[in-house]
Symmetry: C2
Subunit: 213 residues, 2 copies
């Protein structure tokens, strides 16, 4: 399989860094082809702005949705966006790994979604291309994430509620919206206060999950 | 009332810009004190990283949660974070206005939350300060947002599901988590394809909402 691994954590020596390294090694062992977007290492710019477009159809007022739809026809996206779009086009499976920051992905990864998965690329309301007719039909995706909070807090009836429900704004409204198949999220709860033993077990559990892809 | 208005849109001449201007004028008319954080105009950096801390308790490995808890005692936050924290402390009510980008706020605002509403500031798991004991008890907050998609798509039974449910990862897991009272979100659906008349009506509806605060 061709796999794009999108990763966001500011510290290579973190548990998230170890998970990412584990996955990359396991994917190679299984002879998958892998491309990595390590957003912190790339110093990826997450702020959607006028510079995202090399040509403007409406130069007077910046309408991001409108310009993205135009650019999806003309290719007038900024080079950093185009580069990521090429990786997405190439991939059969997209894996997004990040630590939960406030029940969501960190801003640097949200900005990758805002800028790269632009209107006209993965979906297009103008041509009714969404969900069953999403433009990424045939691709799959998976979230891999760690929380500070314990599982009870992120379960139904817990203080925050079911994390998987909250993540539906990503898995359903972004990925399924674009026609992708969503694999079950791989969640590691309470990762910031793990013993070494549990850390090693979680690394092993993740390696197995990656092997089964 | 003391109101902090946090705003994210890349185009001042947009409908979102008009909504923001309407709100600021109406708030002044009602003699509220207002501070504005116009994140695009400020060129706000949304990427949480090592530079967020002017002093590190663990210089070898960057642990964002740990460093934030320490900095909340010592004040070792970067100046841009401290400035925003002062506004938050000062405010009775926080209004967050943004266009929906993929069923969530744009990355630049998510990064404001990641960096400014740091562990130890609005909540503190170490001292069990969350929800009923959240550190922002007494403050209120409100989301103001515009969608491209029609209301049917963002309703229960619609393709995306109820937008208010999706926004609970913000209203519940961030704001209520920190002890704040959440006012009903002010949502303007299908804002990118409005007639001039509907645009004017929506501006008026928002002005009334602001007047009633």
């Amino acid at each position: 399989m061709k796999i794009l691994y999108v990763y966001a954590h500011p510290e290579p020596k973190s548990f998230n860094g170890a998970l990412k390294d584990t996955a990359l090694t396991a994917l190679k062992e299984k002879r998958h082809e892998v491309k990595l977007s390590d957003l912190y290492a790339m110093n990826f710019n997450p702020v959607l702005n006028e510079g995202d477009f090399t040509e403007r159809k409406k130069p007077d007022v910046f309408k991001p949705f409108f310009e993205a739809i135009q650019a999806s026809k003309t290719g007038a996206f900024a080079p950093d966006i185009k580069e990521e779009m090429e990786k997405v086009k190439w991939a059969d499976l997209l894996i997004f790994q990040f630590p939960i920051f406030f029940t969501f992905m960190p801003a640097i990864m949200k900005g990758w979604i805002d800028r790269v998965l632009a209107p006209g690329f993965g979906f297009n309301p103008v041509t009714n291309s969404a969900y069953d007719t999403g433009l990424f039909k045939g691709k799959s995706t998976m979230l891999v994430t760690t929380t500070g909070a314990p599982k009870e807090m992120y379960s139904e009836g817990g203080a925050h509620g079911d994390l998987n429900k909250h993540l539906e704004s990503i898995t359903h409204c972004i990925f399924e919206y674009m026609g992708m198949k969503v694999l079950p999220s791989h969640i590691i709860y309470e990762a910031s206060s793990m013993s070494k033993e549990r850390g090693a077990e979680e690394i092993e559990r993740y390696r197995k999950r990656i092997f089964e892809l």
